[in-house]
């Protein structure tokens, strides 16, 4: 029988390739080097979803443009009564006098093409104009912010050193991060979530700090705090600084940041290096402000505010602040990787400790063995020899699922193990359908061989129908699901497909072999 031998080859090929794919999972390092991936719920680790606050990136662009506009007007000798950022993402500008208004309008047409006139009104010879960014530009800024944030976070995690991290965009402004096997989750979260905006600002030493603390903050200045933890009591002490709002230099010109140990206090500090442009800026700032205090501000927290003793050349600075070694190490990473263009919020977190993962694997496997053995015994008891055939199919089924998981590089999760267990129960269904049909046909007085033939041919379509619907449910689940649930959909789909194969092709082959080749007249069923 030509047909028969072809089927033998097909079945052997499928089983062999499944076994080959399982081998690397059992013994690491074997070809084809594809292990079954364990989900975070099984191996432990952290899953995070961050949302980039893109609105903030638009606001900071507007803030920068407001500042630039002020400089431009000064340069063009156009006097104004006020330029301010209002409602987050608009610039409001008030100009008096026709002369000023005319030259401003010329400026608006020629040099400020990126800005859109939102509204315009003249009252008492005062022109009030509100500018904002065109829709398209806003969208672009937001998109860029998300992409940049993704890149920066990827950079930080790479430098932190996590095995096989998975970092990707999800939707428009969400970032999915999976860090398998990570232990210090709090530290990782801080590293990822820190905006790390480094700014150098002058202290406002002309105004009174006490008055400012009472609410009398001079325009152009702001109150920022330094936080120090008292090592004895563990209490955080906040000390206020009156700092000028204007940023003289930011971390964007950084080329390197390294942890150093201060020989005097034996405390770690971070040494930073600027690129050429940054070094020039730093030199000029220090030159112009000798004997003044320069605050080093990170994410709106003052780290130190040393007095500038002399002009600093060479573009090197240091950030001190009673760091622990870990803090200093992480801070150096975020400074090297750069600031996030906008703040990010953690909107979903799932962390599984490694011991829980190991427990889940153990309990999942035990329930699989128990369930599997019970079903196997039941089938032998109920169908005798035929039951044994179904059991062979069942065991091969599990091998095929495992091979499939490794071959497709799918991820096995705890619900995924549940899916395999469920498949054990449901996989025998196809065989049950066939066996019941064969029994029916034998009751009609057919010989075993023709009953088997009739049983298979009548049951095949039913089996296909029944399994396609389960497959539909599994595929929808795959589309909808995240992480663990997706793993369930994967094993369920693999289970459905492999049980079709084992029931319709493999067990049929065994029947044919016994009844035709071995010429066995009656098979217990």
């Amino acid at each position: 029988m030509k047909n028969f031998s072809w089927r033998v080859i097909l079945v052997l090929a499928v089983i062999l390739s499944a076994i080959i794919y399982i081998l690397p999972t059992i013994n690491q390092g074997w070809w084809p080097h594809k292990k079954i991936n364990l989900g975070l719920d099984l191996q432990g680790g952290m899953h995070l979803i961050l949302e980039v606050d893109t609105e903030k990136s638009v606001e900071s662009t507007i803030e920068r443009m407001t500042y630039e506009l002020r400089t431009l007007l000064k340069k063009e000798n156009i006097s104004h009564i006020g330029i301010d950022r209002i409602e987050g993402n608009k610039i409001s500008l008030k100009i008096r006098d026709n002369k000023n208004i005319l030259s401003f309008e010329k400026l608006l047409d020629n040099e400020l093409k990126d800005l859109r006139v939102f509204s315009k009104s003249t009252d008492d010879e005062i022109l009030t104009i509100i500018l904002n960014l065109p829709e398209q530009e806003t969208r672009h800024i937001k998109k860029l912010a998300v992409e940049q944030a993704l890149e920066t976070i990827r950079n930080r995690i790479d430098q932190f050193g996590v095995n096989e991290p998975d970092i990707r965009l999800q939707g428009e402004r969400r970032i999915l991060i999976q860090l398998p096997g990570i232990k210090d989750t709090q530290r990782a979260k801080e590293l990822i979530g820190k905006t790390a905006l480094l700014e150098f600002k002058l202290l406002d030493e002309t105004h009174d700090l006490e008055a400012a603390l009472k609410g009398n903050i001079p325009a152009g200045s702001e109150l920022l705090y330094q936080e120090n933890e008292d090592t004895a009591t563990g209490r955080v002490i906040k000390s206020p600084y009156l700092v000028k709002k204007r940023t003289l230099l930011t971390g964007e010109y950084l080329t390197d940041a390294r942890v150093q140990i201060d020989s005097e206090f034996n405390e770690p500090y971070i040494s930073i290096n600027f690129d050429k442009k940054g070094a020039r800026l730093f030199e000029r700032i220090t030159e112009e402000n000798v004997k003044k205090r320069l605050a080093i501000v990170l994410d709106n927290k003052v780290y130190s505010a040393p007095v500038i003793q002399e002009k600093i050349t060479g573009g090197e600075a240091r950030i001190t602040g009673h760091f622990t070694t870990e803090e200093a190490h992480d801070l150096a990473i975020v400074l090297r990787a750069g600031a996030l263009p906008a703040p990010v919020n953690i909107i979903e977190e799932r962390t599984v400790g490694p011991s829980l993962g190991a427990d889940s694997i153990r309990m999942g496997l035990i329930s699989m063995y128990v369930g599997g053995i019970l079903v196997i015994l039941f089938m032998i008891l109920y169908y005798k020899t035929s039951g044994l055939i179904a059991d062979i199919a069942l065991i091969l089924n599990i091998i095929l699922i495992a091979g499939g998981l490794a071959g497709f590089q799918a991820t096995l999760t705890l619900p995924g193990i549940a899916g395999i267990i469920l498949t054990i129960g449901m996989a025998v269904d196809a065989n049950v359908l066939i066996f019941e049909r064969i029994r029916e046909e034998m009751n009609l007085g057919k010989t075993q061989r023709s009953a088997v033939n009739a049983g298979y041919s009548k049951a095949t379509l039913t089996i296909l129908d029944a399994n396609v619907t389960t497959l539909i449910a599994a595929l929808v689940l795959f589309q909808f699901g995240t992480g663990p649930v997706k793993g369930f959909a994967v094993t369920l789909s693999l289970g459905v497909i492999s049980s079709l194969f084992t029931a319709l092709i493999l067990s049929r082959l065994i029947f044919d072999y016994l009844l035709i080749n071995r010429k066995i007249k009656s098979l217990s069923i």
């Binding site: 011991s355 309990m363 549940a418 469920l422 039913t462 497959l471 369930f488």
Partner: protein
Amino acid sequence: MRFIKSDINLNFIGKSRLALYISATMILISFISLILHKGPKYGVDFAGGTLIQVKLFAPASINVIKSGLDTIDLGKSSVQQFGDKEENEYLVRTDISVMTSQEGLSGKVKNAIEATTGNKVEIRRIEMVGPQVGKDLREKALFAMFYALLFITIYISGRFELKWIISGTMAAALMSSVYFLSFINLSIPILIAAALILALILFWVLDLKYAMGAIVALIHDIIITVGIFSIFDKEFTLPIIAALLTIIGYSLNDTIIVFDRIRENLKKYRKKPLDVIINRSINETLSRTILTSLTTLIVVIALFVIGGGIIHDFAFAMIVGIIIGTYSSIYIASPILLAWQKRGKKIRL
């Protein structure tokens, strides 16, 4: 060995009125329980908030742990024993989803419990879902179930009545209108409930009887499973949605096998009345129905008993679903085909 004699002939159809009352009662109880509990009880996946699984290295009473947690501001929180008693594991839940302090929420919880019980505490699992994500997931879960039902409709009407085009067009129209309507500010649950009712009306108008039987049975299964979950005060989480979708697939499996036999027998015995044919078909497939339910139940019960705490509720949902699904394919799906004929519509092939 056989449990069911090959010449068995139980009168299932004769009992269908009784089954109708039983089902109606169960559905009613489900709704009453849902109303009394003010809707389904959502886990952190859907409600938002934080769940922290802690393990203590020595036993401690729940009240001591609670008093420890009272020292930190946790908002609306609860503590619950998890898994076996000797494991000393607890679930701490709170509706807070962000914590800005230095040590983070889990660190705070850990320190607070360690301080009051004097025991070392291990954080085993943290699940934090922001409120917006919770709402998104809730809506996604509803959409998933709805889409699954429509895809299944297409397949059943296509395979059994060759109405691929009618059912496909209907499903596509329903899906796209729900998709577009979901953008305007409608409540998603109401929208999907309305779409499902509309779908059932369309089944009637377009004469999609097999789809009607199958889908009504599935909705029946889901409502009762959700109801039983609500009665036992169990939480809905993502894995439970996975279980519900699997129940859809499983219950349909049973239904389709009976339907297949009905179709086959309709060809075979053209002279016999439909109720006899349906009853005969159910009897002929009864042995298989019970065997498969049995093997599936064996493994799911194994999972329920020894699979561990995290998978416990999933296994529970599956057990309920398998029992209800088996019942509904015999007593709900098939009688609907019969009801169709009684209403003057003809069952054709």
